[in-house]
């Protein structure tokens, strides 16, 4: 399941939706708004998205992760809009029979998401603000590193 949303991310609901008696290992990653960046205090963070395209890319991340690992359940939620310090901006949760797969699949999913999903961050400092330096999106997944020319 994938979701792009302006609402707060509810980790409790994510873990409930991940319940599955056939899976022994669950790995949940949460990305949160941090109070500092490059030794400067951050006060809040805006996330800009290309919503329809971001949803398509999130779905690709989900499909590619399921293709590469024996994933029983996967939930990817990304928030956008204006976030406060400590707010969860992204959640990736994976349930597998074994923990090794769950760790690897979750790591792959968040790394691939970061490399492909069109979302931009703007940091606000006590004085001023700035768009966060990012990466050129990869054509496909993090697996092949072909950068768009």
């Amino acid at each position: 399941m994938i979701k792009l949303t302006k609402e707060p991310i509810n980790t409790e609901v994510i873990l409930q939706n991940l319940e599955d008696k056939s899976t022994g290992g669950v790995v949940l990653f949460l990305g949160r708004v941090r109070d500092h960046a490059n030794n400067k205090a951050v006060t809040k963070m805006d996330y800009d998205a290309y919503p329809k395209m971001a949803e398509g890319k999130l779905a690709e991340v989900e499909a590619e992760t399921q293709k590469r690992w024996p994933v029983k359940k996967i939930i990817i939620v990304h928030r956008y809009g204006s976030l406060e310090l400590g707010d969860v901006s992204v959640a990736v949760a994976v349930a597998c029979a074994h923990r090794k797969d769950a760790f690897e699949a979750c790591r792959f999913a968040i790394d691939t998401l970061k490399a492909t999903v069109p979302i931009w961050k703007k940091e606000y400092f006590k004085e001023g603000s700035g768009w966060v330096d990012g990466v050129m999106p990869t054509m496909k997944q993090a697996g092949d590193k072909t950068t768009l020319q």
Partner: protein, 83 residues
Amino acid sequence: MNITLRFFGQLRELTGKQEHEMTVKDNILIEDLEWLLGQRFPQIKEHLETSSFSINEEYVSRNAKVNAGDIVGILPPISGGAE
């Protein structure tokens, strides 16, 4: 032909535009559109080289052809998620 441009992140701020209709020659290549954009919006010229382009919500390379009615996204380097 007419196409629709969409700007994101810093490019949206610099152009002051979220969406922009533009008339271009038929079947223009993205690389030629990139040059045009540099003329039309000189304030983003230096950012175009590191930006990516999408046509109808799919990343495309610089030699992709644009068709009439296409939605072309101009996407600065992405920075979603957390480090």
